[in-house]
């Protein structure tokens, strides 16, 4: 299982190629000097404590919300969302 995934497959964008402008930004990072090697110090860690998690309950959407969700279906049949046939490769 070592299939190489190219960026067009990873991005689900046909013919996608890495861009020169973006690669220049990445070069700067590759060449940057690090003063410490601890990648997980996480000053930007905004995770909440386990005591402060919201309740794990299913909340039924209001009627109006459901109506709009159905309105947004790209393809609909008898109130159901129509999707392409799922294929296995």
């Amino acid at each position: 299982m070592s299939k190489i995934m190219t960026v067009d497959i990873l991005s689900s964008i046909k013919g996608a190629q890495p861009s020169e402008a973006v690669n220049k930004l990445f070069e700067v990072i590759k060449n940057a000097n690090l003063t410490n090697n601890n990648s997980f110090k996480n000053n930007h860690n905004n995770a909440v404590s386990l005591d402060d998690l919201r309740e794990d309950v299913v909340i039924d959407s209001p009627k109006e919300e459901k109506k709009i969700i159905i309105e947004n279906f790209p393809k609909e049949k008898n109130g159901y969302l129509v999707v392409s046939k799922v294929i296995e490769e």
Binding site: K30, H44, P74
Partner: protein, 454 residues
Amino acid sequence: MAKEFTCTKLVQDKLDLLKSNAYNSVNSLLDKMALELAAKVDAKIESGQEIGLLEGIPFGIKDVYMVQGTYTTASSDLLKNYKSAYTATAIQKLLDAGAIPLVKENCDSFGHGSSSENTIFGAVKNAINSDLVSGGSSGGSAVNVAKDYTVFSIGGDTGGSIRQPAGYNNVFGLKPTYGRISRFGIMAYASSTDCVGPIAKSIEDIRIVLNVMSGKDIKDQTTYQSEKISEETILNTDEIKTIGYFKNFIESDAIDAQVKADFLASIEKIKTKGIEVKELDFFESDTLVSTYYTLAMAETASNLSRLDGTNYGARIEGDNLKDTYSITRSENFSQESKRRIVGGNQVLSQGFSDEIYLKGLNLRDQISDNFEKDFKEVDIILSPVTPNTPPKIGDSLNDPLAMYLSDAYTVGFSLGQLPTLTIPKGTATGLQISAAKNNDALVLQFANFLNDLI
């Protein structure tokens, strides 16, 4: 006090201005909803009931916020017919306070841009000189405030998207501390720096709107409870004794000579008031920009992977499911959005994540550490908003690297998750005032001081 005009007339006048405007600042008008709400305010006033501070005040909303039943397009082909099923927390709080939403405002598609040219609704024109860009990504919002089409507008700031267009159009724009305002109901660009914030014509308006939108929200677990900022607090400007600025920002070859001279003149004026000014060391602009874009692209690639045309959006059918995904995304995302999604998937893929993505995270920690160290020495960091004045419409799309680098002065404060305000004074594109995390009040205090001084 004699009643001079009704709320309905105020709202109708603003709607007319928005409808006929030539700046491309409007994606859709919320006229029916706005007029219904205005009639309710008029009835309340008529019956002698007291009204709140924001009641009847017309405002605009960047077209990345959910407002139930309205089109929320992110200025993209993919979502051009998408209707919000629910309302964003920040917007709901404004509605609860009685403010009246008039318009969903033009912006760069999914926040991907610094000029509001990456949009299916036409480039937003600068409010001061319509040959120039409005800035971005919240360009329509800044222009609507500058032209008085809205009293205030709600923008979104990931790497400067409120502060830079505010500077380009000479209005105030605040990126609050990350987590002060709930992100629930804003379309995610880079979740670790996305901030909701107001654009307005006065510090007092910024304060009032900030207070209404702030607070902990169970639907965004990065939010925290904050104290309301009082008018008295921000009028007391004696607390600030020491400020700093980044020497390398000002000594850079990339800064416009006039912006530099004006910034240094502002520093001299501040010194005359007995405030100590320190020169600070900071990371080079290209490191800041590269760190920000590496992380933002990684996050946007993940966040936008949900947009595949399955449940909503402009699906284009292919031969099979995977084909449908990729045709839908190829045809409906803009060049700039695709560039960022591909970049994000590059840095997240095996073999690249260690030397780019994880290193970017590490650099971000160092940037935050640097801010922590600085705020032990100074109360405020002052900076220009941009190195240069706004480019002409058409120039940015041709040179994405130049556009990325133009964000040099804003992205660092985003990575640090700091409260930062653009004040339209001091340089042609304004000044940026930053303080330590959660110190939004101090930012507004210093803004008041500067507003009187310059």
